[in-house]
């Protein structure tokens, strides 16, 4: 894989921060955007802007076609059976809330929902709200100290009361790649549906929703080289049809009478109001960018970065890693004895290096390890070993500054 050719597609990587070349290691929070996506957004606003699904004029027709084409591109990429199983949302959080509300309406008091100990807050709180609303019970798959889910316990948690299992495909804090195929098959064995939080997946590994056989798959555009404010909820047609609408408004109705309305078909039933048109179109372009890559090579490159950085970090005295799962993506969470993550993050920033510090919206994980947070570096396909060298030498400069 020609990394320089890929880097040249990401203009932000040429930027300087505090006079130093930017080293961007916060890809778990959001990824940078290739020129194709940036140009697609500006072209849309420059030449094509119009509201969709509601005009006979040329621009509206063209914008509608572009938006629907984006849906088709995404459908093909994730292997959905139908294009109307791809719902546009604001992002992962919005997708999960949609399911928690609408699918949640089908649940009853005493029903159980299983999540895991490594979920992002956005895959915890919507279920807590649902449990409060409906009197359902939330159960948890525990995690061992390496950051692997304890799947034996999971199997024991399953029963005919289980109505939904919602777990992350890949942990944003620890990098753990969960065996979601196993989780899905076991859940289906008791008749439960499964939602996979795919926020950290598609940018790193190939995902096929039909092969996984998940019932829902949620992700955000901004983490896979697309715009912010747009994401997807994939859902199986049959289940989406059973679910009541999430929000009411324009586009989602077939017929409105003052007393009562009838709802539109999928996907419109779940897409009330004027959507993020530019975002949807830009997300389609981000998927075209993914299509131009060989994901096996991307994965191999990122694994090399992971190994290279881990080996270098291991030499640092007092370093402690969090997340050493059997299968991991290119995320390293760590602490250095006696050093506060806030201090390390602040000084790295002054040297041009962007990392994440804190609890990464996964407080239960931090509680399990009894730490307030970690320093997290997360690599994307455009990162290089040279950047890791810069990061390590920055750390070597910072550590003596902070130690007493």
């Amino acid at each position: 894989m020609d990394i320089q050719a890929i880097r040249s597609q990401f203009p932000i990587l040429e930027e300087k921060v505090h006079g130093k070349p930017l080293v961007y290691f916060d890809n778990g929070a959001t990824t940078q955007k290739p020129l194709s996506v940036i140009h697609r957004l500006s072209d849309y606003y420059t030449k094509e802007n119009a509201n969709i699904h509601r005009g006979v004029h040329t621009l509206s027709q063209e914008a509608t076609t572009a938006y629907e084409n984006a849906r088709n591109t995404i459908q093909k990429y994730i292997g959905a059976k139908e294009n109307h199983e791809v719902l546009f949302t604001k992002g992962t959080t919005d997708s999960i809330n949609l399911v928690a509300y609408s699918f949640g309406e089908l649940l009853q008091a005493g029903d159980e929902i299983i999540i895991s100990a490594m979920e992002h807050h956005s895959n915890i709180v919507p279920w807590q709200l649902l449990c409060e609303r409906k009197g359902c019970k939330l159960r948890f798959i525990p995690m061992d100290d390496k950051g692997d889910l304890m799947l034996d316990t999971y199997v024991e948690l399953l029963s005919e009361k289980t109505k939904l299992v919602a777990v992350t495909h890949i942990s944003n804090s620890l990098g753990t790649v969960n065996d979601v195929k196993f989780i899905i098959d076991k859940a289906h064995g008791v008749g439960a549906k499964v939602l996979i939080d795919g926020a950290q997946s598609i940018q790193h590994i190939k995902v096929n929703v039909q092969e996984l056989d998940c019932d829902f798959y949620a992700f955000s555009g901004h983490k896979l080289f697309g715009p912010t404010g747009i994401g997807v909820l994939y859902g199986k047609e049959e289940i989406l049809n059973q679910m009541p609408p999430y929000q009411g408004g324009g586009d989602m109705i077939k017929e409105v009478k003052l007393e009562q309305s009838t709802y539109n078909t999928l996907p419109h039933k779940f897409e009330a109001g004027t959507p993020n048109i530019a975002g949807g179109i830009g997300l389609g372009t981000a998927f075209e960018f993914l299509n131009s890559l060989d994901m096996d090579k991307v994965h191999k490159h990122e694994q090399e970065l992971l190994e290279y950085a881990t080996t270098a970090l291991k030499k640092i005295e007092g370093i402690q890693f969090y997340g050493q799962a059997k299968e991991k993506t290119s995320v390293i969470s760590f602490l250095i004895e006696g050093l506060h993550p806030y201090d390390v993050g602040t000084l790295l920033d002054k040297m041009g290096i962007a990392v994440r510090t804190g609890h990464h919206c996964t407080q239960p994980i931090m509680d399990q390890f009894c730490i307030p947070g970690t320093i997290r570096v997360s690599f994307a396909l455009y990162n290089t070993k040279e950047e890791i060298d810069l990061f390590i030498s920055a750390l070597e400069r910072i550590i003596p500054m902070l130690k007493n």
Binding site: H340, T346, K350, M401, N404
Partner: protein
């Protein structure tokens, strides 16, 4: 020295640092030298929890002047606390209550006092002023 003079003194001190790392080296030294809050005051009600770092603040009034001691788990946060306290310690409650701490911006550390930074400092400044306001009455 007035609050303003103290602020100017800090601005002058920082003027000699051209490089960010040198500036931070100095802040870290200040953090290490900060006279610590007494252990008995490190209680839950004096703890200001930020998402990134935490701060303890103890305030009292003696002979009509405000006295502050504080601590933080992060050393850079502590260094900035040292600067804030240096400016308002031993000042009258009304001066503390109206202090703007504008020198922080001048020395380029504004980011640490941003609410989104979530390091406990914004709440600490608020807490200092609230304590001063109580003492004015």
């Amino acid at each position: 020295m007035s609050i303003q003079e103290k602020e100017q003194e800090i601005i002058d001190e920082f003027a000699i640092y051209e490089d960010w790392m040198d500036k931070y080296e100095y802040i870290i030294e200040l953090g290490k030298d900060l006279p610590l809050i007494e252990e008995k005051y490190k209680t839950e009600d004096r703890l200001i929890k930020g998402c990134q770092s935490q701060v303890w603040l103890h305030a009292e009034t003696k002979d009509g002047k405000m006295k502050f001691t504080a601590d933080s788990d992060a050393i850079i946060t502590k260094g900035i606390i040292a600067l804030l306290i240096r400016v308002v310690d031993n000042e009258s409650p009304s001066d503390v209550a109206t202090s703007q701490f504008s020198f922080i911006k001048e020395i380029g550390l504004q980011e640490h006092l941003s609410p989104t930074r979530s390091n406990g400092l914004v709440s600490m400044v608020k807490e200092m002023k609230l304590n001063a306001l109580k003492a004015v009455k």
